[in-house]
Subunit: 395 residues, 2 copies
């Protein structure tokens, strides 16, 4: 094909993207999708957010619709800092917090400020594929540290990575990780944070799912031990609404100052209207009561899916998440996850193949299941279809 344009070398480093393909699959009504990562539409508080939007427009419309500063809406940053203080007992301050267009933007900008081509970056294996996509465009050498079955990176490999490769940062999701749903045990958090602080390697802790612990309990973040080498990102996408693209970064001020240069260049500032709507929603509605509803719905879905895997697909051992939106299941010997993906589609069910989660190869022997999007009946029907798809492959 005629290709008249010359693109930058970095674009060759981009992995083939699965996310948009998945979104397309999940818009086909005949397919029950466990492949994507959408929060339950039924649990989005449209009425509450509409009230907040109307209030912002009525009382503060001109400010909400005008240009704003790069750092983000100060009252929202103060709310976030306050929640870190109360919930995690950590001394967060609004000056250390920046609002971004969903926490995916942190992945892009943190890599942008830290990562030269060929620099080492560490991450979990399997790890979040959106992170692989974002990091890859800065052409790092990505090293995956295998996850232990009980959750968290295998500490011997983690420690060896820090000393042998001196990564510019390690990226991980300690709470209910994407794709496995596992969480770091507290001892692992302590050791990972301590090792990073000693090695002066930032631990970049993506906490998109911390508020979705089924038991509602706050786990201590790795940052508690990583100290000034702890960077955290958070998001309202899984708890309130992804369409407003509102996440944040919490990092020491010296990192924030450099981050601001990248954020300013990237898009001047985040959507001001959405920031004000979210802040108003958080301060006029009962966020904790809303979270209780979401947690209990996801816990129920997770248990149902887990039971159906045990019952209908007993050959697929799987993780047993304590929160979040995902679990990972292993495939019987000789069955590839791409085959299961295709067989699933022909049965009317979509799962997410494991490969894109393995930055340095592998992963064809497992797949990810999402339990937040579908309701109870869909999960029952979808798991029946999945059992038929697997049967068609092992027969």
């Amino acid at each position: 094909m005629h290709m008249p344009y010359q693109f930058a070398h970095r674009m060759e480093a981009a992995p083939e993207s699965f996310l948009d393909t998945l979104f397309a699959v999940s818009s086909d009504p005949s397919i029950i999708s466990f492949a994507g990562g959408l929060p339950s539409a039924a649990l989005i508080d449209v009425k509450g957010i509409a009230e907040a939007a109307a209030g912002v427009m009525a009382e503060d419309g001109k400010a909400a619709l005008q240009y704003a500063t790069c750092d983000g809406h100060l009252p929202l940053r103060e709310w976030i800092a306050d929640r870190y203080r109360r919930r995690l007992g950590l001394p967060a301050r609004a000056e250390e917090i920046r609002i971004v267009n969903g926490s995916q933007q942190c992945l892009d900008l943190v890599a942008k400020i830290f990562c030269n081509p060929s620099d080492a970056v560490g991450m979990e294996r399997p790890g979040y594929l959106g992170a692989v996509e974002a990091f890859s465009l800065y052409e790092p050498a990505i090293y995956g540290v295998p996850l232990a079955p009980e959750g968290g990176p295998e500490m011997e490999a983690f420690s060896r990575l820090l000393t042998e490769k001196s990564p510019v940062f390690f990226y991980g999701i300690p709470n209910f990780q994407n794709p496995s749903g596992t969480a770091y045990p507290e001892a692992v958090r302590k050791e990972a944070g301590t090792l990073c602080r000693e090695a002066k390697v930032p631990f970049y802790e993506d906490d998109a799912f911390g508020e979705l612990a089924f038991d509602g309990r706050a786990r201590p973040p790795v940052k508690r031990w990583a100290g000034e080498f702890g960077i955290m990102s958070g998001s309202f996408s899984k708890t309130i609404a992804p369409g407003m693209r509102c996440g944040w970064l919490w990092a020491p001020e010296e990192i924030i100052t450099t981050f601001d240069v990248a954020k300013q260049a990237a898009d001047l500032h985040s959507n001001h209207l959405s920031q004000m709507i979210l802040h108003r929603y958080l301060t006029t509605h009962d966020y904790d009561a809303h979270l209780t509803v979401v947690r209990s719905a996801y816990a129920k879905n997770c248990r149902l899916m887990s039971d159906l895997l045990d019952e209908r697909l007993p050959a697929c051992t799987h993780t047993r998440p304590g929160g979040g939106m995902f679990m990972t299941a292993a495939l019987p010997e000789g069955v590839s996850s791409m085959d299961l993906f295709r067989a699933g589609l022909s049965q009317g069910v979509a799962v997410m193949p494991g490969r894109p989660f393995f930055a340095d190869g592998g992963g064809d022997d497992c797949f990810r299941l999402n339990f937040s999007t579908a309701g109870e009946e869909e999960i029952k029907e979808g798991m029946a279809r999945l059992a038929r798809a697997l049967a068609s492959l092992v027969r």
Copy 2:
């Protein structure tokens, strides 16, 4: 100072940012600011946008608040394509249009997909400082082509740049350029577009101000002649509301496909709620009538400022824009724009020094004035203060 973090080399390439400093200046109520680039708050149609927001929430709230595709809200992209067809007579299609977080994001992502370190990038001299900030992080060699007094790059220098430096793209603002307010004459558009198409150099045409022509007339874009080497960006920030951070890119599909990889990695997709509000606003309110009001207000402000410059600061020759939000004035020999900036602040008025608009140095002999933010009385008082500030320097 203790600096424990190692940042990527590209961060050293970042110019010192002025934009946020300026925003801070423009929030000080004792200072009349001609330094920033805010649209008039009085002209933002808060009531109309609030109606559109309420309508979206009532009829389509769940979709607006859920994850969406990377490409952007299809009805909005169709509206934009349709406007290109009707207004400019060009065959735009929704498939070639992508929604971004304000057109600043195009600057980041277009540079990201085209620009290796040390690659040549061409732009106007003076040119938009936000573009210099965005491009710099990809470490190009930026070459400025001087603007001719009648508007548009000097074509001999432009042509020489294409043949001698083979830039990965040329970035320009043909309509009411930032900072000068000048527009490319039609012959320059034709020649620039033709040269770019022949040399296979994309002409990246930032059209943030085209809808703000005081006479309402649509000028033919460079893309008309650049063809498949024409890339355009547009924005609702200057015409409707910047706080919703909604702009777009229009480019040939082969470029769009690569752009999507970068956009997906950067933040998954743009704010869905704002896209739906804007589309509803555009289709339920009279956008052209709104634009007529904005154009006539800015034309009046521009004339007033121009007359006061002639009358009170006759030593400062200046451009006479036919649209947009900015003009540039020259300083008398021996007066630097940084001195004027400081003298202005002590008199209670802010102007924008010329230097940041000159990617490759110079510019201390001119300054930029914004005429969209302040009202008539503020312009009168601010220009009196500016005359006193200049007098304090030449005395």
